[in-house]
Symmetry: C2
Subunit: 360 residues, 2 copies
DNA sequence: AATATATATGGGAACGCTCCCAGAATTGTT
DNA sequence: AACAATTCTGGGAGCGTTCCCATATATATT
């Protein structure tokens, strides 16, 4: 790649610098005929300002479109009103799955509404090392951290142990950190409901495609699957549980190929993306969904609704998951909560054509 | 909704506050036996520090895991090394489309690598008004702005006219701002290639589904479509151009229904999502893709590759679009460029089954 | 009317850096 | 050896807030 200037085919003229200086608190104070302190009280909605002065200051602020300087505020108050969102592993194909984007949307909307900004830090293979966390993700500008990940490596855990600000995990926290706040969905119950639904429509040999083993979301979904089968007095066949779907379409596809030779009539995939891959494998084998094999996913991503056939799923309130995570963190920040908090959100069964076989 | 405490089923114990105070520049200076100024020079990689002192300071910094306070830095230097990403319209279903998330990933990765943080601001119907921009999106903590949007309303444009920091648009800037930096893809050429490809495989009556009229990306794609037909001496039939696909699946579906009665044998949709909707309509009408109607989209989103049938498309380098946008903004910030810059990125034809009819 | 109490106001210090400038130490030049 | 040029170093001022404290003013209580 060349230097940047040569990458630009044309240069249009428009200066952007030498802008007039912003007004400061002091300026507003002078203009309103009060002191800096009074203006500060007005801005922060504090008591001990006379009605008359408050209105006057507010008017001047509005007239001059005054914005307090956040850097100065952060420096003086030791709070930035910014929260960080960190994904502590490679994100190369993370954004192909709508889960994270929707989560991020929820986090950002809720944070913005609570008066917090959100800053995002992503890791790639090439910057994934301690100094990424240390130098780029500088603690001093964020008040707290939301950690969105399902897997945690050593580098990250070591770094995190020195991180001294409140943090909240989306999904389960690492097992090495039992006393940390998190917000999660009811994975186990979701696995149960999915499997129960397949049984209800008449499936007898139900396979499961796991995301990744030793990953709590996937493990809990499997537990739900097993529980549903056990309650129905169906023996668990380990051959029907394929561990490594990797939460990818091709992972689901490969896993399904292995299930096809084991003659299943229903499949529960631990994510919608894997379910889509599974349906592709079924189609290529010349079988039909749901007539020959019923398929249900997990997540409730928008694409499931428009796939061919539309995909039944356990829908997670992903938006809400993000929002609740943000609210939890902000709550901790604004109230100086000395404990870890957690919250489990419910999931819901969404029935579409991919399991419509025997339901009337 | 109840108050937050009651939303949490259980409270685990772990204090988080009263953390020890961070070290400051001054502390590092004292520990290294030099002055604050020297430490500052080391941190900022400036000259005029003896080799001996530089190493010593660096060692102390590493030993104590010192992180300069960004708020203080921002206040003193008037630069925060944070850039903002703003989506100035309702994002409710924006994240259903992978375009934006992938863009955001590109922006964030490139920014992080250049030492900048990214903060994200989203708007919803309920917070979309002037004070959202004024009060939440406070200028003082960002050095510049990336504006990712295809449509601009009055509220936003008015606000933007007062925004005095460098900004770069993703996609075309509003027509009212001719002299502003932007990074875009070659939409016109993409429209041309898509249409040319449909002609190449033998289509004669080619419909187009637009995203939204008066939106430069969609308009340019249509221009390319028209150019390709004209060069092939095929008269333009305005009946075959459906203006309001809205870049949604259902929009594409409805648009296709209108094209079906006009007997097309090929369709160019201005986005992949709309193309998927179009394929659904074709399927429901009992016709086959590509045998009866060939379909090509625009974007190159991951889902196109796994749809049924896999979707041909004009693939945009979305990652790169985000990265280049961030690099452009950072370049402007770091070099005090007094002009607007722009860059057009190339697109590529990706042939999959949805147009595989007559190719051998 | 005198005093206690609550409310209101302003100024100083601090937050932790950067930047400028004065001066010291080192190196180069005649 | 004397001086100029260059490299290096430290201290002061300033960035625009918040927070604390001293003091002034209004209100309530006897």
């Amino acid at each position: 790649m060349g230097t940047l200037p040569e990458l630009f085919p044309e240069i249009l003229s428009k200066g952007r610098r030498n802008v007039p200086k912003d007004l400061s608190l002091e300026d507003i104070a002078r203009l309103s005929g009060v002191s800096r302190s009074t203006v500060s009280r007005v801005i922060n909605d504090q008591p001990y300002v006379s009605q008359k002065n408050r209105e006057k200051v507010l008017r001047i602020i509005r007239e001059h479109n005054f914005q307090p300087n956040l850097a100065a505020r952060a420096l003086a108050s030791q709070r930035s009103r910014v929260i960080g969102v960190l994904i502590p592993h490679d994100v190369s194909d993370l954004f192909a799955d709508p889960f994270f984007p929707i989560l991020l949307k929820g986090i950002t909307l809720a944070s913005n509404e609570l008066g917090y900004g959100v800053t995002l830090w992503l890791s790639t293979v090439r910057n994934h090392h301690r100094s990424f966390y240390d130098s780029v993700f500088n603690e001093s500008l964020i008040d707290g951290l939301i950690i969105a990940s399902a897997t945690f490596d050593e580098t990250f855990l070591k770094w995190l142990s020195n991180f001294r600000k409140p943090s909240v995990f989306v999904g389960a926290a690492p097992s090495s950190m039992p006393n940390v706040s998190f917000v999660d969905v009811d994975n186990r119950n979701g696995g149960f409901m999915a499997t129960r639904h397949l049984l209800d429509i008449g499936c007898h040999r139900i396979g499961m495609i796991e995301g990744r083993q030793k990953q709590s979301s996937s493990d809990q979904r499997r537990e739900g699957y097993i529980e549903a089968l056990e309650k129905a007095d169906i023996p668990i066949d380990p051959e029907l549980i394929i561990p490594h779907g990797n939460y990818t379409e091709s992972g689901g596809y490969e896993a399904m190929k292995r299930l096809l030779v084991r003659d299943v009539d229903g499949v529960f995939a631990a994510s919608d993306i894997m379910a889509l891959g599974a349906m592709r494998a079924i189609r290529e084998a010349g079988l039909r969904v749901p007539q020959d094999i019923a398929v249900i996913g997990f997540d409730g991503v928008p694409y499931g609704a428009i796939s061919n056939p539309p995909l039944s799923t356990i829908s997670q309130p992903i938006d809400l998951l993000g929002e609740e995570t943000a609210r939890t963190l902000v709550y901790v920040l604004d109230n100086d909560v000395p404990h870890a908090l957690y919250k489990i959100l419910p999931v819901a069964l969404v029935v579409r054509e991919s399991t419509s076989r025997m339901v009337d």
